[in-house]
């Protein structure tokens, strides 16, 4: 089965093609078909997972050349190792759940089947990304994922914000990809191949200078920054919530945004090669995580809160991976890699669940604002229960899966006190805002009676996926229970037997932190012992800062977007100036030379040859004067020219009294006489000729 892994992405592609060309008109059929396809690939990836387990995660690679020019090959192929297997599992599972879910959610949407075709396309590219065995392919699917996310965010493109959000997402990630491309170019140039294995060998063999490796790593990481919404390019993710909720669940929580993390994990060998690069990664992750968490504290849009929590969790993973790279480069042992990948998996499940739950809530009350919800728990049991499970999990409460992964992360930060403290702080904040969300949504008394009355539990197609994911977000983490002999950790490290040493104290600390966060939220938002508004009043500046997301969007608009647009406009005007300087040029010229025809100017001036145009026109004037129309003048002119040229030649000759000279002297004298007299005569009828000028 592993050798046929390429089928996994191709099945959704098949679904996409079929839907677009044949099934568009039959909604049920298209939905069913795409779901069937993703289920098949789910099964396949399950099989592959077990096969990989059987191989103890030995990588398995197949590829052939797409095209090859001198020096470098573009190849197509896939690589299955433990990481791939896990990711396949995650993607297919969440994908399947989301597709089933959206049957209910997208019901009676005019573009129902198109939605499913997009979903399938996305799954194709995501799975392809996961399976890719070289930088080139991963980049291709990387971009395709971006495209599909663009399409899906802007799915309801009649809404201007949705369209804007889509554009913003695409361009922002593209900026990240800029770095990615440069990284690829460096890879191609210095490593001479795109194949992961080849590149890693070159790096670990030290064939590439360390500085280059650092720069390369950082540039490649730019891609991750863009895709998984790390600081400073995190601004697009919250806006992306304008898309349909299933999309948010699938793309912007579980899979696509995780692609960045996946990339970092995939090319970890490069980071291992350079401590500096890894440090950068870690720091970026930390900053992001902190910022996002703090922003999430005060947001009121349910999906935005989730979005920020996603960003912060991604930051977690990135930080963990970075730390791993740093420590390993330093020769120490670190749990970061396991932590990152594990959290990647668990987070996919519970965050997916959270979003789907949020979706079903929104489906019920038709608003995103948690201030208008409340007390929904009795009305929609499954949703609320699963939602709370997920919240517990993300808060990291024993023994839910979130607990294990987060614990690993904290363990990874052990040797770096700053990281440790901030991480714990973040964990606290996470617990707090998640439970703020829960309390405000499901408990207390309804703040908007009208919406409350209409609220109802979602249809079955929506609740089943919730339950599946709920199950997973409870138990998925257990594969990594440290006491397991052949646990997750030993799986991701290809078979080398390796126990992440269980660290009871840490576990306790993290649990305490999490619980305290929950309790605080409980007191503020459930018991309302402490008034949130008072707090907000007390910390007004901080509150405003957080509420406005640190003013990132504004700053970007001010510093980057507007200047570029201005510059573009300036360029355009400059170009226009060059092109039809005719317009203004002519205006000026017609004032000066009003007697010249317009088109003559336009073409002479055009292409910025004013000068020559001016000369030409002057010349024309003189010639006009010469072409005076009086024949005697012509005669005179001929004569003058002859004499002048002759004179020019005379300089070369020694003058001795000799017969020809006399002749010439005569001729000259008489001619000059003639000239004078003619000019005298010409002065008389000067006015008439002047009239002719008009």
């Amino acid at each position: 089965m592993t050798e046929n892994a390429y089928l996994i992405p191709l099945l959704p592609m098949f679904a996409f093609v079929m839907i677009v060309f044949f099934m568009r008109w039959n909604e049920k059929l298209s939905a069913g078909f795409s779901i069937a396809m993703i289920l098949i690939s789910w099964v396949m990836s399950l099989v592959i997972l077990f096969e990989t387990l059987g191989r103890h995660g030995e990588p398995y690679e197949i590829y052939f050349y797409l095209t090859s020019f001198v020096g470098i090959n573009l190849e197509v192929g896939f690589l299955v190792d433990s990481l791939t297997a896990v990711m396949l599992m995650v993607v297919t599972t969440v994908g399947a759940c989301v597709e089933i879910y959206s049957v209910g959610y997208m019901k009676d949407d005019p573009r129902f089947s198109r939605f499913f075709s997009y979903l399938s396309l996305f799954l194709f590219s995501m799975l392809g990304l996961v399976l890719a065995n070289n930088f080139f392919m991963i980049f291709i699917f990387w971009e395709l994922v971006g495209l599909t996310s663009y399409l899906l965010i802007g799915f309801w493109f009649e809404k201007k914000i949705a369209a804007d959000a889509g554009k913003k997402a695409f361009i922002t990630t593209r900026i990240g990809d800029l770095g990615f491309i440069v990284g690829l170019l460096m890879v191609a140039f210095y490593a001479g191949t795109f194949n992961f294995g080849g590149v890693f060998d070159k790096v670990s063999a030290g064939l590439i200078p360390a500085g280059i490796v650092t720069v390369m790593g950082i540039f490649l990481f730019c891609g991750a920054i863009g895709k998984s919404a790390q600081f400073p390019l995190h601004v697009w993710l919250p806006d992306a919530m304008e898309g349909p909720t299933p999309v948010s669940a699938l793309i912007h929580a579980a899979t696509m945004v995780a692609a960045g993390v996946y990339l970092v994990a995939r090319i970890m060998n490069i980071f291992v090669g350079s401590a500096e690069a890894s440090m950068v990664v870690a720091v970026i992750g930390l900053i992001t995580s902190f910022l996002a968490a703090s922003i999430g504290l005060v947001q009121n849009d349910i999906k935005r809160v989730l979005a920020y929590s996603t960003v912060s969790q991604l930051g977690y993973m990135i930080m963990a991976l970075g730390l791993y790279g740093y420590d390993t480069a330093g020769g120490h042992h670190s749990a970061g890699y396991v932590a990152g990948t594990l959290h990647l998996m668990t987070h996919a499940f519970f965050k997916g669940l959270l979003f789907l739950g949020a979706g079903s809530v929104i489906h019920a009350v038709h608003t995103n604002d948690i201030q208008e919800m409340g007390g929904l728990a009795p009305k929609m049991k499954i949703t609320s229960i699963t939602f709370m499970i997920a919240s517990l999990s993300i808060a990291g409460i024993f023994p839910l899966s979130g607990f294990w992964s987060k614990d690993e992360i904290i363990a990874a930060t052990l040797h770096h006190p700053v990281f440790l403290i901030v991480t714990l702080l973040i964990a606290f904040m996470t617990a707090f805002y998640m439970w703020r969300l829960c309390f405000l949504t499901f408990f207390g008394k309804p703040r908007d009676q009208h919406r409350f009355d209409h609220a109802h539990e979602s249809p079955r197609s929506m609740t089943w996926p919730l339950m599946v994911l709920g199950f997973l977000s409870i138990f998925a983490g257990w594969v990594a229970i440290p006491w397991l002999p052949h646990g997750f950790s030993s799986f991701v490290f290809h078979g080398e037997l390796h126990h992440a040493s269980p660290n009871i104290i840490l576990m306790l600390i993290s649990t305490v932190v999490a619980v305290s966060g929950i309790v605080l939220a409980y007191f503020i938002y459930y018991k309302e012992k402490i008034s949130a508004d008072k707090l907000a009043e007390k910390f007004r500046p901080i509150y405003k800062l957080l509420y406005n997301k640190y003013y990132f969007d504004e700053i970007y608009h001010l510093l980057i977007l507007n200047p570029i647009l201005k510059f573009a406009n300036f360029m355009w005007s400059f170009d226009a100036g060059v092109i039809d300087g005719a317009v203004n040029g002519t205006a000026w010229l017609t004032i000066v030379w009003s007697n010249i025809k317009l088109w003559f100017d336009t073409w002479i001036v055009d292409g910025a040859v004013n000068g020559s145009g001016w000369l030409v026109r002057q010349g024309a004037r003189i010639l006009r004067f010469l072409q005076s129309g009086s024949m005697q003048f012509y005669v005179l002119f001929i004569l003058v020219i002859v004499v002048v040229i002759a004179l020019i030649k005379f300089e070369f000759i020694r003058i001795d009294i000799h017969w020809p000279v006399i002749t010439v002297v005569f001729v000259l004298g008489v001619t000059l006489l003639g000239v004078l007299s003619k000019l005298a005569a010409g002065s008389e009828d000067a006015p008439s000729s002047a009239k002719q000028e008009e």
Binding site: L74, E143, L147, F170
Partner: protein, 496 residues
């Protein structure tokens, strides 16, 4: 030698032109169909050439299908000498395809039909000729012959400022080509025995004194650069594009611009290696400038067609960047890829803009919005090509740009390449702006309620371009193999 395929490529359209001339003026549909069918023949021939070349000749860099040299004007020993190799064959196919496509696309022309189609066929003949000529005189003749029908096509069937645009195009290009003429004459009299044979003159050119090489190179460069158009010479392009009727701007973008780069690859690059070496940096710099500049300017456009026009300035900038990276085969291959894919994509974009214009009678971007809801298929195709234009993987644009970057990165200053990579983002920016403003957002029901979906003929015109774009994007190997030998040979010549 067998059947003179290349000559037939050139002369069938001319015969077609004569046939069309003798058709009665009123029989519009007859004229349209005749000319289209006639133009199908060279298209098929060119495809067959592609096929045959790929399987029989692709191995070596020598000229295939050589016809002649037949002495034409012995006094100046001007010869009738045609040939095709890896760089001209794909362009021939492109020309054939685009000519037929744009003839199909110009069925909605309905005044002075006869002249229009006659001129169009003449234009096709000229383009084919440029790509197969191996004698400088012949090359120049075709180069110029093409101008006249173009002048008329823009000037008669063009938009409001057609006359200005037409004369501008004509004068600009003529101005360039006189430089080429001088350079040709200098080459002619330097070579011993006097010859105008492009292939033989390669030896002469590379043997010239440095200064003379410089002069000739610059003269040729001016001529070709105006055609490309390289950045400072580009100002004729937007006007010509905006004023020209749809089909003509398709040809203009799809084929005429390629002639500049083709000329560089065929003539001046292998001919004056020393001069090239000392100038390559500046050429690449011009390319980089063009990329950024074109992208920025097209970001500020309000007219759909102008936007596409400037985008092609930016895209040809990639070609120049690649041509600056003389030492790397990747870059040159990328350049060829870029030429072809730009031909396909921009051609299609112009076609689509034309489709919209026929229905809405405006190209003002601001005037539209939410068209996607009304014309799903049309918008789908348009979005597809916009994505291709902004270099989305899986489509030809990406492959070519990527090759160019890889090659240029190894051959040029890293900084320059880094900067020109910015073009990718800017490209995304202006294309998405356009897509969003036109197809997304609110739909103005009462103004655009009457818009009708893209019809079958128009889909037929765009379909093949779509398929090719995808094919090159997904499996570029055949095209690459087709050109590989020739291009390596070229690079070796440049490295002399």
């Amino acid at each position: 030698m067998g059947f003179p395929l290349l000559s037939s490529l050139v002369f069938i359209p001319i015969i077609g032109m004569l046939v069309v001339m003798f058709l009665p003026k009123e029989r519009h549909s007859a004229i349209k169909w005749t000319s289209t069918l006639i133009s199908v023949v060279p298209m098929l021939i060119s495809f067959w050439l592609l096929w045959d070349y790929f399987f029989n000749y692709a191995g070596d860099a020598a000229m295939a299908y050589v016809e002649g040299p037949v002495s034409w004007i012995p006094i100046l020993n001007i010869q009738y000498y045609l040939g095709a190799d890896g760089i001209s064959i794909p362009l021939l196919a492109l020309t054939g395809l685009l000519s037929t496509v744009s003839l199909l696309a110009s069925f909605n022309i309905n005044f002075r039909v006869k002249e229009y189609f006659a001129f169009f066929l003449l234009l096709e003949a000229g383009m084919m000729g440029v790509f197969v000529a191996l004698d400088f005189f012949l090359f120049y003749v075709f180069w110029e012959v093409m101008l006249v029908p173009m002048y008329f096509l823009i000037g008669v069937w063009g938009g409001p400022r057609k006359e200005y645009a037409a004369i501008k195009f004509f004068l600009y290009t003529l101005f360039g080509s006189i430089f080429m003429l001088v350079a040709i004459l200098i080459l002619y009299f330097t070579s011993e025995p006097h010859s105008l044979n492009i292939l033989e003159l390669r030896a002469t050119g590379s043997a010239m004194a440095y200064s003379l090489q410089m002069v000739c190179f610059i003269f040729f460069f001016i001529a070709f650069a105006i055609k490309v158009p390289v950045w400072p010479f580009h100002t004729w392009l937007p006007d010509a594009h905006v004023e020209a009727p749809t089909a003509v701007s398709v040809i203009l973008a799809g084929v005429l611009l390629k002639m500049g780069t083709y000329g560089m690859l065929r003539v001046s690059w292998p001919m004056f290696p020393e001069a090239l070496r000392s100038l390559s940096f500046w050429i690449a710099l011009l390319g980089a400038i063009a990329i950024i500049y074109g992208a920025l300017v097209s970001m500020a456009q309000k007219d759909l067609k102008k936007l596409v026009a400037y985008s092609s300035v930016s895209h040809m900038g990639y070609c120049m960047l690649a041509l600056g990276a003389i030492s790397s085969v990747q870059a040159i291959t990328g350049c060829m890829f870029q030429m072809i894919s730009h031909g396909l994509i921009t051609g299609a974009l112009f076609l689509l803009v034309g489709v919209l214009y026929d229905r809405a009678h405006t190209r003002e971007i601001a005037a539209f919005g939410g068209v996607g809801a009304k014309l799903p298929i049309y918008s789908g195709i348009m979005v597809f090509f916009s994505m291709a234009a902004l270099g989305l993987p899986g489509m030809s644009g990406f492959i070519s740009e990527f090759m160019i970057f890889v090659g240029a990165f190894s051959a040029l200053s890293k900084i320059m390449v880094g900067i020109s990579v910015l073009g990718v983002v800017l490209g995304a920016a202006y294309m998405l702006r356009m897509v969003q403003r036109v197809f997304l957002g609110e739909f103005d029901q009462k103004r655009w309620g009457g818009l009708t979906e893209i019809n079958f003929r128009e889909i037929v015109t765009v379909g093949p371009l779509m398929l090719l774009t995808l094919w090159i994007g997904i499996y570029p190997k055949p095209l690459n193999d087709l050109m590989a030998a020739t291009l390596e040979n070229l690079v070796n010549l440049m490295a002399r």
